[in-house]
Symmetry: D2
């Protein structure tokens, strides 16, 4: 069965800025969706900020195996309730791929629990994305590095938790470095942050960048059944204990009562 990927895009700059529109006339989401759809094992759809519920209603999320997230200027317009819904689906097992300026999106900050800040410069300088672990499935077919002739600089310190794996680190012409490919796990959900993708350069038209995105969809897909009660804290009754025990000492909760969380 194909992996159901949903490409989410803010889709504002493409409509308001001629430079961006020239590169992504149908929106960044459409370019990425087209790139993903070259893999027959990926079933792609899209969603954007200005759709009802930002296109991320409960049903849509339930039918999404991997969500890709691109946002930049309108992070603040994303509804908090939708962010919580997305976070919950990540915990249940939906993969999440956060792209470029999505480092400051509500959802990324939500699941990182960290500032997610960085340094930046929009000078069109060269970026070289080095593969740290060429044996990682996200780096399959990429080789030593991806060369981007024009890119926005994202520089360290990048205020994220220590990752599970460092997959890519970028070199910039202006002198900085950046951990541009990082993996995380939250609940049953696998998370990949990928740095390249500034909207004034044709980065999502690059063949290797597209390959990384397809690889990442496969990697982030967790085929396990959704862990729907992942956020609940059930009481285990004394009768249900695996070893025989008896009640002792003081008690706060009535029998069978839920926790206070």
């Amino acid at each position: 069965m194909a992996i159901r990927a949903t490409v989410w895009n803010e889709f504002r700059h493409e409509r308001e800025n001629a430079t961006v529109r020239a590169i992504y006339p149908d929106g960044i989401h459409q370019t990425i969706a087209t790139a993903l759809s070259r893999d027959a094992a990926i079933d792609v759809s899209t969603a954007t900020l200005d759709e009802p519920e930002h296109g991320l209603g409960a049903q849509r999320l339930a039918e999404t195996d991997v969500l890709l997230w691109w946002g930049h200027k309108a992070h603040g317009d994303v509804d908090d309730a939708v962010v919580e819904r997305v976070a919950q689906r990540v915990y249940e097992g939906m993969g999440l791929i956060v792209l470029h300026s999505g480092h400051f999106s509500k959802i990324f900050k939500r699941v990182m629990g960290a500032p997610c800040s960085l340094r930046w410069r929009e000078a069109g300088e060269r970026e070289r994305v080095w593969t740290i672990n060429r044996a990682h499935p996200i780096a399959a077919g990429i080789g030593d590095a991806i060369e981007l002739p024009n890119s926005e600089m994202y520089g360290e310190p990048f205020l994220v938790p220590e990752p599970l794996e460092t997959v890519f680190i970028s070199w910039y012409q202006g002198g900085e470095v950046f951990r541009s490919g990082l993996t995380y796990q939250r609940g049953a959900g696998k998370i990949f942050y990928f740095g390249p993708g500034h909207e004034t350069y044709p980065i999502y038209h690059d063949a290797k960048i597209q390959k990384v995105l397809r690889n990442a969809v496969h990697w982030a897909h967790n085929p396990a059944e959704p862990w729907t009660d992942v956020s609940s804290a059930p009481n285990v009754s004394i009768a249900a204990a695996r070893e025989p025990i008896e009640q002792r000492g003081g008690s706060l909760h009535a029998p069978g009562e839920d926790g206070f969380g």
Copy 2:
């Protein structure tokens, strides 16, 4: 200079429940504060939920090096603005020690970015807290294990991110296990979660538990200057680049403009 530790307590159960009051007549925070104050290198104060701003105004937090957090039934009463203020101070370098039922506090969920759920049972059963790394400073002087004759069971799965270090794992009489001592880093702040501490048992009167808390205050203290702009994403101008570069390609931002985050 002494480490400034603030012990925060919800302080509700001690006033409402006779069992708890009998064990902690002045509140859990006072018992912990007394335990910490046996170490001359720790300067202790307390704060509670029902004080203005929960006792955690900006000035108080600025003068706190390490914050200990105990809450249970009233997590929902903690103001979101205070939670954000605490999170920001953690990112700047304040240590955070989250105790027992604080696993479901807003601040812990905020900095973990994860569900923080677990299984539980209040049966007064035995808990044995095994030291995984006796060479860790938090475990100094603890020996192989801490024996708690009566404890609340907290069982796996505990839905937190993989920790930097697993310091303690607990065994329960009823058959469960629990990672009861875990370390994390968020921004400049060091975080320690410590499982034992149910309010109907005299756990914070235990000498070894008190030793762990003193150790943890020392461990969580980051003597570096507060990283006050840790959450901002500054532009690095082309003129300020460490290597000479020139503007190329399209641009989205006006010169010197802040990011959209």
Copy 3:
């Protein structure tokens, strides 16, 4: 294409000890091989200590995608050159699953770089293997826990590096805990340590244990091309630098010379 798994067994206790032979008349390796072969996607073979080169010649290793390792009383009889050959294949991408008493095998200590010591007791007590992350592919289909009516106790502290992921933690009747399912990465190779498996109890006949082993073979398989030069440190000539540079300052090496390692 099927995953080529090789089950390696010391195969001494089964021939020398009547208790063990009664449980594993054809050797532990045969019981495990039979369990793996129930998965049509796994192509199984075996190798044992007393075969030439311990059954792990260069050709055999080159044709192994995942190696499972069971040893106990004869760790010292394993040839150091074979250990190096296996380690090199792990670095190149071969998966390695180390079982039970293999914690003290030369190959496990070699790739951990740590003492790998633990506490133990052979009392036939109950072990309960708790699933920490039920969404991990190694835990697929296992549920909350595996109940083993008789097991050898392996207790913390277990002197291994902090793992990438903690998949299982065991509870023992006698009061101990043990991190019994841990993942690591070395070079391109994925490593899984799995605790249960003492030879005087029929643990490898347990259906859930067999399921874990099949799952682990899938997880440890890295489909990437073998990274055959993973251990070499090539010189990058000035002419081959991705940015134009010129020789400056003093020099130690002649042009094109290899490093000293």
Copy 4:
């Protein structure tokens, strides 16, 4: 009490190569020792390859809290027995700081359990060592970056295990990146790898590099009592079990017998 640091140096290039001797006339170890001795809390001594037992006899190691290691052309001349002795002391709690070309030393490969390979180029190009976590004690007082006008390039992929913490990442003029400051833990011992230090450039004369080394000595020092039996796997008798149990099922070991490891 002062931290007892021992600076180990191969001390061959300084005697054989005029370029190196001009920069380090008394040897790299003396320059580092002088830098460390500016901190009154560090008590420094040195040891070199051509001393008996490489200057690392059992008594000397027992009196060393933190060992710094510089080697390059003669890794193969280091006696395996000394390597094992050093590894054992690391497990017991001695800190280990591995410098530059020490990435290919026997001791570093021994405790990493990984290839430790990388790419390199000796062109005297610029290196900029970026601070990833300025709040880390190893980075105290360093600021955003260390600028090295001439350095040897060390490039990714660097085949080491995922670190506990990434403290520094380097940028090179020729286009590469390198994780140049990484922390690990093995047993009770803390390990720091630090990339800069090629012998044909005066890198250990740099004030910030010297500050990192002093910081690292403090960080790597574990004040806990040496864990002298860290590598042994003791039997826990049934009588000594913390919960009452009785012998059941088959048995392999005679009572009180040691394991096979």
